[in-house]
């Protein structure tokens, strides 16, 4: 039964692979209706770190460069020009220069120039007068000295050291170019961009409306007259709405595997895709306080995990097991399976792993009569809570009596920052499938999002080494080594990498769901509807 079902979904994926040659002549017109999972805090992509903002507002903007919107797997090779006509690296690999388009206008009619590029990145790097309320991706540009302009149509990024991956970061949906002449406050409430759609209105908890930009610099695009997001927080209500035809597409990457079955049974014609979204579910371990300051207890905890059971329960088998980097085939940087299985706790024999784990626990002084009582802290959101419930159940097998400690959103990060937890269940989303993004952000000494404060100077050196490596194959080998070491150190045990579904009505054409990021694929300039 299970395998039949898996086959069924595999077939779905095949069916949904976009193939522009067979899509027929695109038709213009129509309002594209999507439901939105929640009300985003603002409309400013640079000030957010959630695709609740990316998805509705990416169509308003352009980047310098962008990942090809119709190739599911983002990589250096799929980066395409957008506001930049072309780019070139200097010989020493320390200067990246973009030649900009001259025919681009902001939605308010002002011309786009290199000054806008400088403004945007100065602001992101925290160097300008005007400040963002919050600036979550400042660290992406740690290696950038400054952005310089040469005339109105050329801009250069000057680096402290070579960082080939910078281009990938610039190609993410998280990296739109903002206009100089609009304040950050206005960008939060009524954003102005150069993109295929113009912002119309954003009613909190109700809807977000975009309309076609008739003066879009790509002639003939977009096809759609507009995009309308209706905010529906209740998942089952939202799915019912899609099934009954009120929406042309579900919120991208928001349909869980169990719900997908429901959608397929109710709307057999709907096209559904299941892809990894490059979000890992992991455990943050407080190693500065007892009991997890004891490396044996940490190891035992990591070895007690039955990752397959997590995947079975939450994803009916459809999720991936790996290290920090997204597993293959969707992920570009995952270590080979044989290497992965050498890591303690990743071996296929769960019972044996747990036997070893129990020995470690006994060594640390625990046993059937002396159980370790701890709390597993997590947020009051199902995608966090559900794996925590499974984790607690599994920890019973190694004499750990854990209790769930559900934390309100407003208190979660302050609590984590205070180190007021012993185990925390956490989700880490990666916008770009590149080690530079995930290693520095989550494991480098002193990074804000390195919650556990893991700090290993040797690994830190390897981070830089892989970052500067131009040869992709050599870089991969380095990355595997680093990833393996991180897992062995129990820096932040990765439980699984989730997969999610997206469904649309059969008449919707040219939507591609990215397979190694859920933040980059929503420009929607050539999406059209055959009806």
């Amino acid at each position: 039964m299970r395998s039949v079902h898996a086959l069924g979904v595999a077939a779905l994926v095949m069916q949904a692979l976009p193939d522009p040659t067979f899509a027929g002549e695109p038709k213009s017109g129509g309002i594209f209706r999507i439901y939105h999972r929640d009300s985003p805090g603002s409309a400013s992509i640079h000030e957010g770190a959630t695709y609740s903002i990316n998805i509705p507002f990416m169509p308003v903007f352009n980047n310098l460069v962008i990942f090809d919107q119709h190739i599911a797997q983002n990589s250096q090779d799929t980066i395409r020009p957008e506001l930049a006509e072309s780019w070139v690296w200097s010989g020493d690999g320390k200067t990246l220069t973009f030649k900009l388009r001259k025919d681009v206008k902001w939605h308010d009619g002002k011309p786009f120039t290199s000054a806008d590029v400088k403004c945007t990145f100065d602001m992101v790097m925290g160097k300008s007068q005007q400040k963002f309320r919050q600036n979550p991706r400042k660290s992406w540009y740690d290696e950038v000295n400054e952005v310089t302009v040469n005339g109105d149509y050329e801009a250069s990024f000057n680096l402290k050291r070579p960082q080939p991956a910078l281009l990938s970061l610039l190609a993410s949906g998280y990296t739109p170019v903002y206009p100089c002449h609009v304040s950050p406050g206005d960008m939060r409430t009524k954003p102005v961009g150069t993109g295929p759609f113009k912002f119309v209105e954003f009613k909190a908890n109700e809807s977000i409306k975009l309309t076609k930009n008739p003066d879009y610099w790509k002639k003939g695009l977009p096809y759609l007259d507009g995009i309308e997001f209706t905010i529906i927080t209740n998942r089952s209500t939202a799915i019912l709405g899609f099934v009954s035809g009120k929406f042309d597409m579900t919120f991208p990457t928001e349909v869980s595997i169990p719900l997908l079955k429901d959608v397929k049974s109710q709307a057999p014609n709907a096209v559904c895709v299941v892809e990894p979204n490059n979000v890992s579910t992991n455990i943050i371990v407080n190693s500065s306080n007892p009991p997890f300051d004891n490396v044996d207890v940490r190891r035992a905890m990591a070895m007690a995990l039955d990752r397959k059971a997590f995947v079975q329960i939450q994803f009916e088998g459809q999720a991936d097991i790996g290290g920090t980097m997204l597993p293959a085939p969707a992920g570009l940087w995952a270590m080979p399976k044989e290497m992965l299985e050498q890591i303690p706790g990743y071996g296929p024999n769960v019972e044996k792993n747990r036997e070893d784990a129990r020995k470690l626990m006994q060594k640390a002084g625990y046993g059937p009569d002396k159980k370790l009582a701890i709390k597993v802290s997590t947020r009051n959101i199902p995608v966090y809570r559900d794996p925590a419930i499974i984790l607690i159940d599994q920890l019973k097998s190694i004499y750990i009596d854990a209790e769930l400690d559900v934390v309100d959103t407003a208190q979660w990060f302050p609590k984590v920052a205070r180190k007021d937890y012993s185990l925390g269940l956490n989700l880490t989303g990666n916008a770009v499938d590149d080690p530079d993004q995930s290693f520095y952000e989550n494991y480098s000494c002193g990074s804000e999002r390195n919650y556990t404060g893991y700090c290993n100077k040797e690994i830190e050196k390897l981070f830089d080494e892989q970052s500067m490596e131009k040869d992709v194959n050599k870089r991969k080998k380095l990355v595997w080594e680093i990833d393996k070491k991180l897992q062995e150190d129990v820096a932040r045990p990765i439980i699984f990498h989730s997969r999610t579904g997206t469904c649309w009505q059969p008449y919707v054409k040219n939507v591609t769901i990215m397979s190694n990021s859920s933040y980059n694929g929503y420009r929607y300039e050539d999406v059209w509807m055959d009806k």
Binding site: N234, R235, P258, K261, S265, A309, P382, D386, V406
Partner: protein, 297 residues
């Protein structure tokens, strides 16, 4: 309000025997629905108390091999997305509902009685202040107040009990105050005063026992609504946190995802809530008829 005398009430209703079992049997016969309600309530309390015996599985144990199983002999009411037995969870959920129901009703009533007694007995500015506070609390819908309270206190069982109890206080204190005011005029209170009994003693010895009947009626009526409020709070994500099997929580978020693929996850907890509340309502109604004849139908 009047002091209760249900012997005379029984006689009026035509009962000849006013003692022991026969009296009970008579009441049961006259108030069939109330008896049925009482039966549901006893069942509910018994389930909560002996949950460990009745439940066939541990309500928290995850079983990846049997997730979302439909009702069967092995799992009477099916299993949820974690493979946890729904029957066992509902049984254990009775504990939570009972704890919240009784806990918050008792807390709300105790404070309410205290406030009502003081307010009615002392009069003057104390009464005035208490009255205004009561007014204020009553001008906010119960759920709104409970929502803000749980948000302020954080989600946990004791906090939810407090959050639901506070909006109950004004309702109770109003009734008790009115009752106390009426009782103060009664001859036996006057008499007690004339023989030099202290005010506090009068309040405790004479006034309090005589407000018991309306209090019981009120408390039973509130029991159902507290259970419903907890369910609503949990449904909105602010009530009892996972993994405790609260009925409202079972209905919310994750269950809502399986509305059609696993309808038992939506139906059974809803039935449990409705049944428990229905039972207390039936019983409360009958109790009101018996103890508070002025309102009888």
């Amino acid at each position: 309000m009047t002091a209760v005398n249900y012997d005379s009430e029984l006689r009026r209703a035509g009962a000849h025997a006013t003692h022991g079992w026969r009296r009970l049997a008579f009441l049961a016969q006259r108030y069939v629905l109330g008896t049925f309600g009482l039966f549901i309530m006893i069942l509910f309390v018994w389930t909560a108390l002996s949950a460990d015996l009745i439940a066939r599985y541990d309500p928290l144990t995850v079983d990846s091999a049997h997730r979302l199983a439909s009702p069967s002999w092995a799992h009477w009411l099916g299993t949820d997305s974690f493979g946890r037995d729904v029957w066992s969870r509902i049984i254990h959920g009775a504990r939570i509902s009972l704890a919240v129901g009784i806990g918050s009703t008792a807390l709300g009533c105790t404070i309410g009685v205290f406030v009502g007694l003081i307010s009615g007995y002392l009069s003057g500015w104390v009464d005035l202040v208490f009255q205004r506070i009561t007014d204020i609390l009553q001008s906010l819908p119960l759920l709104v107040l409970a929502l803000v309270m749980t948000a302020a206190l954080g989600p946990s069982l004791p906090n939810v009990i407090v959050a639901i109890a506070i909006p109950l206080i004004p309702t109770v204190s109003r009734v008790i105050r009115a009752n106390t005011l009426a009782l103060r005029e009664q001859p036996f209170v006057e008499a007690a005063k004339s023989i030099g009994m202290s005010e506090t003693r009068i309040a405790i010895r004479h006034v309090l026992p005589n407000t018991l009947a309306p209090l019981i009626v009120l408390a039973t009526a509130q029991l159902g609504s507290t259970i419903l409020t907890e369910a609503s709070l949990s449904f909105l994500g602010l009530g009892i946190p996972e993994p405790y099997p609260s009925w409202g929580r079972m209905l919310s978020e994750s269950a809502a995802e399986y509305v059609r693929t696993a309808p038992w996850l939506v139906i059974f907890p809803g039935v449990a809530i409705s049944l428990a509340v229905f039972g207390t309502n039936l019983f409360g109604d009958a109790l009101r008829d018996i103890l508070d004849p002025r309102q009888r139908g």
